[in-house]
């Protein structure tokens, strides 16, 4: 059974390197929509090379292996074809959990059959450095798995999005984390573990599954963009740790890419909420956005309510409209009706643009995908910093399903929990049309939004999709 990894032939080392470079190019392709499809193809070719090389190096047990690829590939393919675009956040969370579990399985398999992975010394004991990598890889994989499962349950609504706060959770989490690190150290020095015996790895595994759950349950629904990016990052580090064990460049390069990708996305999301990563991870911030806010209902301030026909009339007679979508648009699936509204307005000679806040929705880029699905051209969709200066000159800001990201208190009220968060300056538009289910609900942060009561704001209180459909009717009816 001489298949030590140390003896990997030169062509295979080069092939894995090529695969790694193709993975870099696959991410590079995403710098613009034009090059993105080619980038995705590079990723597929890279994966084909990595898998092909591995099978050529280890050409045994092929019937079972090909069967396993066919089963998994078939399931993945069907899921990818059937999934709704609005369900993308939970799909990505679900996929992350699979990467985590795969890392766990590989780590355990390496522990049980170390000779196959070429990580034993002459006496047949598992190398200490490999045990560190294995311990960390299994731990990160397990955290990714159980954390992503919780994120998946929260995002798909199978579990409440509200934070679940265990007493003393910080002490518990830090204790478990310290336990995992200490046990990994013991695992690396323990003689029984070197011989592939003893319960240490299984204890590390169990603790890691546990901490994955306790880390994610206190984090509220709207902080999910950070969580999902963070788990993305973890899945990369897990792959990198396994790459160290296998001394495989494709795995190491990919792990590093994915790890930094997730970390950067987490950073971008945190910055867009003006919150520190630590405060998000500590959890407990806000309840999930929902219609239940008693606090908002208690404040009796006067606001102007309007009808769909009023909104249609105002927008028809405007020169420019900027549409600000948020999570509410995704929930009510209003994106198609919204695009129809935009098309009708453009026919009337109105300039229509979309403004996207980085944390709108439940994952990075969530709104962009939904608008793309509804055939909104991507060159009409702008990021916060590119469009924010235009609200001052625009006639109508049409806010649909967004709230906190438009709240000017973030600029003025130092006591507000959202103070310092960059916001879309919708209140500077001549007229603000604010689509909202009811006046009762407050945003995720539980803060009232002064835009609702401003003189230039008209509240359109209804389900987002129904409201937009009625506006479309109004635009069609009042055409001449």
């Amino acid at each position: 059974m001489e298949h030590a990894v140390a003896a990997t032939p030169a062509w295979a080392v080069l092939a894995y390197l090529v695969a790694g470079v193709l993975f870099i190019l696959s991410l590079r392709g995403l710098s613009s929509p034009e090059s993105s499809q080619a980038g995705n193809r590079n990723g597929m070719i890279g994966m084909l090379i990595a898998v092909g090389t591995t099978l050529a190096l280890h050409p045994t047990g092929l019937p079972l292996i090909i069967g396993a690829i066919a089963i998994g590939g078939g399931i993945g393919w069907v899921i990818a074809q059937r999934i709704q675009m609005t369900a993308m956040p939970e799909l990505v969370a679900g996929f992350h959990s699979l990467v985590g579990m795969a890392a766990v399985l590989v780590g355990c398999a390496a522990y049980l059959n170390p000779a196959a992975f070429g990580i034993v010394d002459d006496a047949g004991a598992i190398l200490a450095v490999s045990r560190v990598e294995m311990g960390l890889g299994v731990a990160i994989g397990a955290i990714t798995f159980s954390g992503s499962i919780i994120a998946f349950l929260k995002l798909s609504g199978r579990m409440s999005g509200s934070p679940i706060l265990l007493p003393g959770r910080h002490v518990l989490n830090l204790g478990v984390l310290a336990g995992i690190l200490i046990l990994t150290g013991v695992f690396a020095t323990d003689a029984a573990a070197a011989a592939g015996q003893g319960p240490l790895l299984w204890i590390i595994l169990a603790l890691s599954f546990l901490i994955g759950v306790t880390l994610i349950i206190p984090i509220g629904g709207a902080d999910m963009p950070v969580v999902i990016s963070m788990l993305n990052s973890y899945s990369g580090w897990a792959a990198a740790a396994m790459g160290f064990t296998l001394q495989n460049t494709a795995m190491i390069i990919t792990g590093a890419l994915v790890g930094s990708s997730g970390a950067i996305l987490s950073y971008i999301m945190c910055r867009a909420m003006n919150r520190s990563f630590i405060s998000v991870i500590a959890g407990g911030f806000g309840a999930d956005a929902g219609p239940a806010g008693e606090k908002g209902a208690a404040i009796q301030k006067s606001y102007k309510a309007g009808s769909a026909d009023d909104a249609a009339f105002i927008m028809q007679n405007a020169e420019s409209v900027i549409i600000v979508p948020g999570y509410g648009m995704a929930v009510s699936q209003a994106q198609h009706a919204l695009r129809e509204m935009g098309d009708l307005l453009k026919k009337e000679g109105v300039s229509v643009k979309y403004a996207i806040h980085p944390v709108a929705g439940r994952m990075p880029g969530h709104m962009n995908v939904l608008l793309a699905e509804a055939n909104v051209p991507y060159d009409e969709v702008f990021e916060l910093e590119d469009i924010n200066s235009e609200f001052g000159q625009c006639d109508v800001a049409f806010v649909i399903g967004a709230n906190d990201v438009t709240n000017p208190l973030a600029k003025t009220d130092k006591s507000s929990p959202i103070y310092g968060m960059p916001i879309l300056d919708v209140e500077k538009a001549k007229t603000v049309l604010f689509v909202k289910r009811s006046m009762g609900g407050v945003g995720y942060a539980g803060v009232d939004n002064p835009v609702f009561y401003a003189d230039n704001t008209m509240m359109l209180l209804a389900d987002a999709k129904k409201m937009v459909e009625n506006i479309v009717k109004g635009l069609n009816g009042g055409g001449h």
Partner: protein
């Protein structure tokens, strides 16, 4: 390869990742997550080794089945991740060009 060479590759790859990911347009952040998810399933390499070795090593049975389970999970991700990325990317379109007849 010794540990230090591998560590060097890893550290350099982190920097490459840092610069490449910052160049990704925010509009494509969701496809970015889907495609990183697909490529991180390169962990299938480890699962394949375990599955292949288990078939010829005595006492490698459990390791083989863990490897095969890993192959199934990673394959779901690879096929699912790339396919859903392709589906998403196909939706990103530019503004309709002016009809050719207007020339």
């Amino acid at each position: 390869m010794d540990f230090l060479s591998i560590l060097s590759i890893f550290v350099l790859a982190v920097f490459v990742g840092y610069y490449v990911v910052w160049s990704v347009t925010p509009a494509l952040h969701t496809p970015l997550m889907a495609v990183t998810n697909a490529i991180s399933s390169v962990i299938i390499v480890g699962a394949l080794i375990a599955a292949a070795a288990g078939a010829i090593t005595e006492g490698g049975g459990l390791s083989m089945w863990l490897g095969l389970a890993g192959v199934v999970l990673a394959s779901i991700n690879i096929f699912g991740g790339f396919a859903v990325t392709r589906r998403m990317l196909a939706m990103y379109k530019k503004k309709d060009k002016k009809p050719a007849a207007s020339k």
